[in-house]
Homo-oligomer: 310 residues x 4
């Protein structure tokens, strides 16, 4: 009976509001950093909601996490050391560990409660990844860790799987040009930095383009791409910032060959043809992302509202 | 003040409901065929809503209409006669008339009230297309017109821009294998049939795959593709069914060359790179669309609910 | 942060929908009889929801339960034996036990899960009433119990605290004229029957007036009254059907005197002045309730939709 | 088809939101003072909405307007001169003119657009009252008019039919103790002042109690009462402030006699029994309204949020 559902209201800017039916709340808690809810949706299965934003759903999280991980790891050619900033659910870790070359995957998430919840209530996401011998979970501030615990030229791939710095939240220091310079220095010479980079559609794109433009101050190669994630009701943006290699030059056949050689286990979303779809952008989006001039610095934050254009 | 908006509720299946703020209703009427509303949204500008479904918005209708028209007309090589089934707003007509080769564009829409509303209240959509000397508007039943008023081997491109046949509505006879056979016969030997083909995402795809499978009973080449339309909050599916040429074989450069040679006026969404993005589908969607076995016939309608999987 | 609430949608007929924010679900279960949710609202505190209908909230349940119990028990003069039909939360029982004359309060609720939930999660409602020596809880069908386990002329007050028989649900046999005749027979000569009797407002009244008219076939004195309950967003109807005494004849002073003599513990809503307010009805409501002609019988159920007029 | 409705969202405080289906917008305009919408609801018929708040609906406006006008005019015994502050729709005027003793009814509403809209689109409300020879409509600031254009001891009844001074809006100077003193002076010795006085229910009452306490600084007799108005989904408060007579002393018979002698035309809500219901308040509400200590002055406004307690 539909009438028994509760509804989660996902509030976009500009008078848009998306209601998702919820069968039940599986777990919820206010941690020192965020408000976390694990709920069950009749459409999307189990869903993770943080501070009122859908983070991922069981039905389609593979789209988001495969898009985030594989293009970057293939761009890095033979990545050994991978560092995740954030990444609570453990799915990003899961996808990284499918790459045979990886010897060390370090996940730095400030919120121990969040990763404990993932371990306990989101086993379908991490699928035991936290127990893999190559994996290390560190609950501390990601910027401090990168600055103090990593040496230059030591990391193959950084993956930023953080919530966005809306309304000047404290996470914005993980999006500044100063931090990106440190990331650049810690990367090896063919190193790659990939970020979840907010929603990207013609009515909402500003957060994406500002992150992109900030990265362009530091990295020679910066590629935006997006995938449609049903639980978000929108296309979602990602950015690869690379020191040397360019994922856009890969052919369908290149990608399919690399997947075959370098990845174990099945992928559901990503393959050669998907790669071509991801890295060829529609004309309107290409135009939008090229005109941005703002840069986030440690002292200059652009106060974007949640899911809203400037 | 946000609190003064009214809200349009776009009801998806499975307990999903999307609310779009509405500043005002510009016009609305119940015609003999449908309930039509032209409203103004703070996010999407003017919007056309038919029977509770968003049809198009001023902000992003170019995505839908360029995706529907240009790949098909380029696939046909040098189309002269183009027939639109439905197409109320006049935007499909507008895009067709950008092709220099077109000498005759016939639009057959059963609802005279709908096309009158488009002429009067949606000038930003049609931009005077109805007045072009090459255009003919006929308000009658599309199937009867195709069967009785067109001869075999006479049409270069058919464009189906109709609402979907949900819940066994009368439009389903425009989606049957028998009708598709008539379309096939009326087409010239390199003729192309393109359809708007319902929402296509991993949680909602059944209407698309049934239309696709029905077309495959008749046409040798059938290509699904999709574009994300923000006002729909979902990726939207299209299908090209072709007698001879295959749009998937075009390179980026092919498409950019054809656009330059054959199209006048600007395109905002479609170009060579967009074409590559459209016709390379993610792995999960490719898998979904290949497994369908249902076929719509004049006597066998599959009773799908609105925006719902079976 | 408001945006983290889930929302419960309370659907009235006629395109009315009331959204109540929910902080968390405290407990929920589908029993063999109904879907029960105990949630926490920022406005109303803990709330009980059954099959999508708000049953009571911590902030205002005293209005509903005092209105249901005290006018009836004062009308019966010196009630000893009181029988509750339904009454899940235990609040009706709690109020009955405030009357010094009561020696036996029997609560007959078919849903053991519901009363177990009340005992465990709704202690603020029952306040230990289930443990009172005068109280007996029986989990069985109320009609069968009244027919088989009670003798004629043995009960002072019956209290019907059941959900309404919408859409022909099985509870309608607790609303038929045949069952009301049995109730009449089981009552002592100054016995009283009081019912929660659905929402009563000028836009929604049909369920109330049909119950009332059915009672009028059996009882000589039938009095409708209503109280506004904020968590319901509407005035809620009750009916006293009496064999001999008429609560409308009581003065303010009568009621205040009886409360002082016969009731222990505090009342928050009901007193002499409240009684006068309850039993004097506005002209429009008086007119509405006098014109009903339908009667519910065991064989003739009137299929009302939820919270809807005919 | 329900799915074609737009919805008006009536936002209460504390995470409560009431959605009312809207068939169509009949008229809407932003005046210099407010945003006015006349819409058609399937449940409530034509509705007037100002700044996102339901003002009145065709189905139940008689409850509000009869409650506002008749108790006050009967309290004044033989009122000749009546002044309305605000009163846009013209229904308050309509009810006043039913009193045979009235020789002059002056309506002072600052918003000429609002009264023009009422004249044109809300004829079912005013029913021609604006054309009555005894009626005068003045579009100017009510406070300035009362201060400058009326002499002391000249008015029988003042009726305040204004929107509430939420969030420090400019109307708050029509709610200050200084203005109430002027009202007192302008009234004759048995004069009466009646106000619509915001929603009054146990979860939302602060605006009412502050207005009430402000009046108590000036008038010897102050009586709160309320009526349930379905389109508001809440009980609505009114206050009579009187120099000499007390409506609470009237019996049912007194009121019915006065109605018969002094009023022409039918009343649908108000009569003797209704009067008794209105002026006997439940115990919880009596307690709430007695404890207020705040007073609105010209220099001290209490910044209440819309429909929200402090």
């Amino acid at each position: 009976m539909e009438k028994n559902y509760l509804y989660f209201h996902d509030r976009f800017g500009g008078a848009e509001e998306h209601l998702h039916g919820v069968r039940r709340i599986i777990y919820e808690v206010r941690t020192p950093y965020q408000f976390i809810q694990v709920v069950e949706s009749p459409t999307f299965g189990k869903m993770l909601i943080i501070d009122g934003d859908v983070q991922s759903s069981l039905v389609d999280e593979y789209i988001y996490h495969e898009s985030l991980v594989h293009p970057a790891l293939l761009t890095a050619h033979s990545p050994k050391v991978v560092v995740i900033l954030g990444g609570g659910e453990g799915s990003t870790l899961r996808e990284i560990l499918k790459h045979k070359s990886v010897t060390k995957a370090i996940m730095v998430d400030i919120d121990k409660d969040a990763t404990d919840i993932a371990k306990e209530y989101m086993k379908e996401w991490h699928q035991g990844a936290f127990d893999d011998q190559r994996a290390t979970l560190i609950n501390s501030d990601a910027r401090a860790f990168v600055e103090s615990n990593l040496s230059n030229n030591s990391v193959d791939v950084f993956i930023s799987d953080l919530t966005e710095p809306y309304e000047g939240g404290p996470s914005y220091k993980l999006y500044s040009v100063e931090f990106y310079k440190t990331i650049f220095d810690r990367l090896k010479e063919d190193g790659v930095f990939v970020l979840q980079a907010s929603l990207l559609r013609v009515t909402n794109y500003k957060m994406h383009t500002i992150i992109r433009n900030t990265l362009k101050q530091v990295f020679p190669i910066v590629r935006s791409y997006f995938a449609y994630v049903p639980a978000f009701d929108t296309t979602w943006g990602f950015i690869i910032a690379s020191k040397k290699n360019d994922p856009k030059t890969f052919t369908k056949e290149d990608v399919d060959y690399m997947i075959k050689e370098r990845i174990t286990g099945d992928l559901r979303f990503y393959d050669g043809e998907t790669h071509i779809a991801l890295f060829n952008l529609p004309k309107d989006i290409r135009k939008l992302i090229e005109t941005e001039t703002e840069v986030i610095t440690d002292l200059h934050y652009i106060p974007l509202e949640r899911k809203e254009n400037l």
